[in-house]
């Protein structure tokens, strides 16, 4: 084959116009310029936007929810705990494609009528919750149904195994897992953790392939150990429940406090609610009366005034007061006793709960002294227990007390307190004169306490209170095997600004065993209807039951003599 030199190609022999070559050259250059321009634009100017878009295609941030901490009682029993649940939602437009059978099956699993579901999805919105807090098992069954447009979200559901027995103490959370009442609200910050997150790359099928950044791990909420003892709580709850039924009372509340540590061992109110069932959340049931309700204490205040007079040396245990025939004119009002008591000393005034005797003691005291001592006892200031809505009660400034008011305050009218405040104040008699600070959380260290009365006075009052709960006093308060001390109170309620003659609040506050007090128990029964209404008849038996049950559960050795009805036989054979 003959070589044809390129410069001697027959094609090139004919001369072509020069402009055609130029044109081609220019076009090619123009093409290149466009490409360079485009590349510059993509790389330089819109690079960030494009990279973001790219990442959005394959990278995802997954939130890592934190579990809410558990609430435990003092022995480690679970009072509240969260488990995963599902929130079932629907995209209305897509659900319309679902068949009737599917809807029926879905309705059955959700325990809702089909019409209800239809009504919910008949909506312009593109996201509707069908039901929240569905258990995981039901959630899986719903997933298996494959209803178009029905999807699920992960959430947590909180369970309260003790239900209504513990309702007021533990409280409850809302659907977003935030505390709304009780301990759940007070300690919400401790209980709720911090959610974490992780940034990952996902593949085409949505599986996680790798982490892009370091994971921010979720911090689970801390577990909270309360001072409450579930066993005592149940004893208290049961005693209250039976008393309310027996007396036809409107409401009742009781508190048990550990004398040495100031821990609240039990706190129950009736009527109550079950935190697991939202339909029981009624305003009347939700009231934590022991902490948030204040009332005129009545006779249960008498020991404090008597102790003050003894402390200041205005009276001695043998000072005799002539209470007359049970009616006494004082400052234009008539003060009356339940019975004629004649001439009695302070011990008998407490035992027989004489209002006249207390009036006479108050004459030897100044308003200022009483106000100071009541304030030291924590009346008029809310207890620092960290519970929502703790009531401070009402104690008016002493310079505005009239003489008759000073007298009524001496026996517990004209001021208001909460049951928890009274229970705490009684710790001065159970604890040799100092008042302990309360706690709802289990304590690791010694509690702080404030000295209110000298030890001598506290010991003296203790024996007077033992007599007041003795055979000649509120004998219904007695407990077999244990020495108890306490004071009953019957306060008339104020209805339309006047003291009612038919509605009462019966209360009893005391402690046991007297030889070495372990627990303080305060009971209040609101508006007993059937039978007697006196604190010594209504509240004292409840006190007795609570003390008996609690001391037995706590393993406290009996300190009172009793006759045993059983005898031990010599073992016939050894095990």
């Amino acid at each position: 084959m003959k070589r044809v030199p390129f410069f001697d190609n027959p094609v090139l022999r004919g001369s072509l116009p020069m402009w055609r070559a130029r044109l081609v050259l220019i076009l090619i250059f123009a093409g290149f310029l466009t490409l360079v321009g485009r590349a510059l634009f993509l790389q330089g100017i819109s690079t960030e936007f494009l990279q973001q878009q790219g990442e959005r295609r394959y990278e995802r941030t997954i939130p890592l929810p934190a579990m809410r901490g558990k609430i435990l009682d003092r022995n480690g029993a679970v009072l509240a705990s969260s488990v995963p649940a599902r929130g079932v939602f629907a995209i209305p437009e897509d659900v319309k494609k679902a068949s009737d059978e599917q809807m029926k099956a879905l309705a059955k699993l959700l325990e809702m009528p089909v019409a209800d579901i239809r009504a919910r999805i008949d909506d312009d919105r593109n996201f509707v919750y069908l039901k929240r807090q569905v258990s995981v098992d039901v959630g899986d069954e719903i997933k298996a149904l494959n209803v178009p447009g029905v999807h699920q979200l992960g959430e947590n559901r909180r369970y309260y195994p003790d239900g209504e027995v513990m309702g007021h103490v533990v409280g409850f959370t809302n659907i977003e897992d935030r505390g709304q009442e009780g301990v759940e609200l007070t300690f919400n910050d401790v209980l709720s953790g911090t959610a974490g997150s992780r940034r990952v790359i996902k593949d085409r099928l949505g599986r996680v392939i790798e982490d892009v950044q370091a994971i921010v791990p979720p911090v689970d909420g801390k577990d909270l150990r309360l001072s409450i003892d579930t066993r005592l709580q149940f004893v208290v709850y049961k005693a209250l429940q039976d008393a309310l039924e027996e007396r036809g009372a409107r409401a009742g509340a009781a508190v048990v406090i550990d004398v040495h540590t100031g821990e609240v061992l039990a706190l129950a109110n009736l009527p109550t609610f079950d935190p697991n069932r939202r339909e029981t959340y009624k305003p009347a049931n939700l009231r934590n009366m022991a902490i948030t309700d204040t009332f005129e204490p009545g006779s249960i205040m008498k020991p404090f005034t008597a102790a003050l007079a003894l402390d200041l040396g205005r009276i001695t245990p043998t000072t005799i007061f002539d209470t007359g025939n049970g009616k006494f004119r004082y400052q234009g009002s008539t003060i009356s006793d339940v019975s004629r008591n004649g001439s009695i000393a302070v011990g008998d005034i407490l035992r027989r709960s004489s209002n006249i005797g207390m009036t006479m003691i108050s004459e030897r005291l100044q308003s200022r002294e009483m106000w100071d001592r009541f304030t030291e006892l924590g009346l008029g200031t809310a207890p620092q227990i960290g519970f929502p809505g703790a009531a401070p009660g009402r104690l008016r400034p002493w310079d505005r007390w009239r003489l008759i008011e000073k007298a009524t305050m001496a026996y517990g009218y004209g001021l208001s307190v909460s049951l928890l405040q009274v229970a705490r104040a009684y710790s001065v008699f159970a604890r040799d004169g100092d008042m302990v600070s309360l706690s709802l959380v289990k304590r690791d260290s010694e509690p702080t306490s404030v000295r209110v009365y000298p030890t001598k006075i506290a010991v003296m009052l203790r024996s007077m209170l033992e007599a007041a709960a003795g055979p000649d006093g509120a004998k219904a308060a007695q407990v077999q095997g244990y020495r108890v001390a306490g004071k009953s109170g019957t306060a008339r309620k104020i209805i339309d600004g006047k003291y009612s003659t038919s509605r009462y609040r019966s209360s009893f506050v005391g402690f046991a065993p007297v030889s070495d007090p372990k627990i303080i128990v305060a009971v209040s029964i609101d508006e007993p209807q059937k039978g007697a209404y006196y604190g010594g008849a209504v509240a004292a038996p409840v006190f007795s039951r609570i003390v008996g049950g609690s001391l037995r559960l706590m393993g406290v050795k009996p300190d009172a003599p009793f006759e045993s009805t059983i005898v031990a036989n010599a073992p016939e054979r050894t095990r």
């Binding site: 558990k70 029993a77 679970v78 009072l79 705990s81 969260s82 488990v83 995963p84 369970y159 195994p161 003790d162 239900g163 027995v165 996680v208 392939i209 790798e210 982490d211 579930t230 066993r231 709580q233 149940f234 049961k238 077999q480 095997g481 244990y482 008996g548 049950g549 037995r552 050795k557 009996p558 009793f562 006759e563 045993s564 009805t565 059983i566 031990a568």
Partner: protein
């Protein structure tokens, strides 16, 4: 010169292949660790649920109902209790 470039080319190939396998292994291990973590979560949840179940069955009101209703048991009172005085310092043997 020629031999050197052949050796470098082989090394390059080896390095490339090892990169691929390392990448593959890392994915495998990642998947495994994910699976184990999911298992941890499941076990944690299961434990929480069992704990709740136990609390539910050991609920005081339930026990009380069973004891006084089904089994006909009575609460103990001091006069039906025998208190044994144990000599001090010998507390270990008493509890059973």
């Amino acid at each position: 010169m020629g031999r050197l470039s052949v050796i470098v080319a082989i090394l390059l190939m080896l390095s490339a292949i090892s990169l691929v396998t390392a990448r593959y292994q890392s994915r495998q291990l990642f998947v495994e660790s994910e699976r184990v973590q999911a298992q941890t979560r499941d076990l944690e949840t299961g434990w929480r649920r069992l704990q709740l179940d136990r609390a539910e069955y050991a609920r005081n009101s339930r026990v009380d109902e069973a004891a006084s209703g089904e089994l006909g048991m009575l609460g103990i009172v001091p006069d039906r209790t025998l208190y044994l005085n144990q000599p001090r310092g010998n507390t270990a043997g008493g509890a059973q």
